[in-house]
Symmetry: C2
Subunit: 230 residues, 2 copies
């Protein structure tokens, strides 16, 4: 059933003056809308199985329009990652920069912030996507490593060093400790987007997990905490 073309002549209803046009120019709004739709589809299907036709449909445009704003599927993927991660990373950096005094409470705030992001936003899918596609897109892996991992690790490493220098923390090996701090968060994000709801498993309690993690870190990091667990 073909659409209503305006008939060659004397068409009874060629394009009634008041009805909405078939599309509008919305140069400013398109990129965000496309990135949001792409994030949904990539999250559901992974990169390879995501179909650009579906991204376009969810963004309310045609496939061709995607290519007006993004030169390729790869670049669209990178845009999704940038949009999801960078604002949060900047927020975290600001949080650390602004804080003075003891380091452990800063660490606590950081971990809780990330836990909340993982538990409540779509951002949680990003690690899974990057992990899945790292092999096929070395350039993407490098991008993510450079723009996200290195910065995130650097942030934590600086905080740890500060804590060690002012005698608050034991003299730990910084790099491995950063990894051990991050691992449960990464695992939570991956879990929530891969196994939640599978096989009748109850959803992962990210917040509770992180609280216990923080408690453990207190025992591991602090020089001598005068508090025993009841």
């Amino acid at each position: 059933m073909p659409s209503r073309q305006p008939g060659p002549h004397s068409d009874p209803d060629p394009v009634p003056p008041g009805d909405p046009p078939r599309w509008r120019r919305r140069k400013e709004a398109r990129p965000q809308e496309i990135v949001a739709a792409a994030m949904d589809v990539f999250a559901e299907r992974g990169f390879a199985a995501a179909r650009l036709e579906e991204v376009a449909a969810r963004a309310g445009v045609s496939k061709g329009t995607l290519y007006l704003y993004f030169p390729s599927k790869d670049e669209l993927f990178k845009a999704v990652i940038r949009a999801a991660i960078l604002p949060n990373l900047q927020q975290a950096e600001a949080l650390v920069a602004a804080a003075g005094g003891p380091c452990f409470p800063v660490l606590e705030r950081l971990l809780r912030m990330v836990a909340r992001l993982i538990a409540t936003t779509r951002m949680a899918v990003i690690p899974r996507l990057v992990i899945a596609e790292a092999g096929n897109f070395p350039e993407l892996a490098a991008f993510y490593h450079r723009e996200v991992i290195r910065r995130g690790f650097g942030l934590l490493a600086a905080l740890l060093r500060r804590g060690v220098e002012n005698g608050e923390f034991r003299p730990v090996a910084v790099d491995p400790t950063v990894r051990l701090i991050v691992a449960p968060l990464l695992m939570s994000a991956v879990w929530r987007t891969s196994f939640d709801g599978v096989d009748g498993e109850p959803p992962l309690e990210v917040t509770a997990l992180v609280e216990i993690h923080i408690d453990n870190l207190r025992r591991v990091l602090l020089q001598d905490s005068g508090e025993g667990a009841p």
Copy 2:
């Protein structure tokens, strides 16, 4: 152009008696060889981007032969996972079952065993593969959850409970603690197969990481260790 059947008589080069045949019947060896080749290709490319033609080539057979032994790409993928994981899981279960006395040394042995597997074998790629494809193959995710994760978690949970009951460990929350114990291992496996060598990063020191993890767990789990770190 018909192939070179043994010419009836006086053929110049009919099939010189000593030369190897173009292929051999090797019904017994094929499945393992195909699974090994598939593991390599899946590891390098991920599931979706892996081409069965390449799997066949590396296994030294034609694509058709794959389908004599495995009904589909999905089933081949599951066979790869089964072959890589199950033997090790059984070994771990045996280790725990055989051990008596204090629990922490058993935990240490388990963690070191897994660390060695991650650092030195191709098994490390499995988590990445499953994570990547969990969305597209819910059945696979359920299979892995049931056959690997549940069993592995159960093993650790039982060990923890034993330690708590005999007063060796603090009364920890078992399920979250299991996750916190496993997370660094999972992260190491994923890291090694996604980011090692990217952006000039030195390879991850899995063994060293796990030793520090064990040290931290000592502080977290043990009721009261009479030893301070120097």
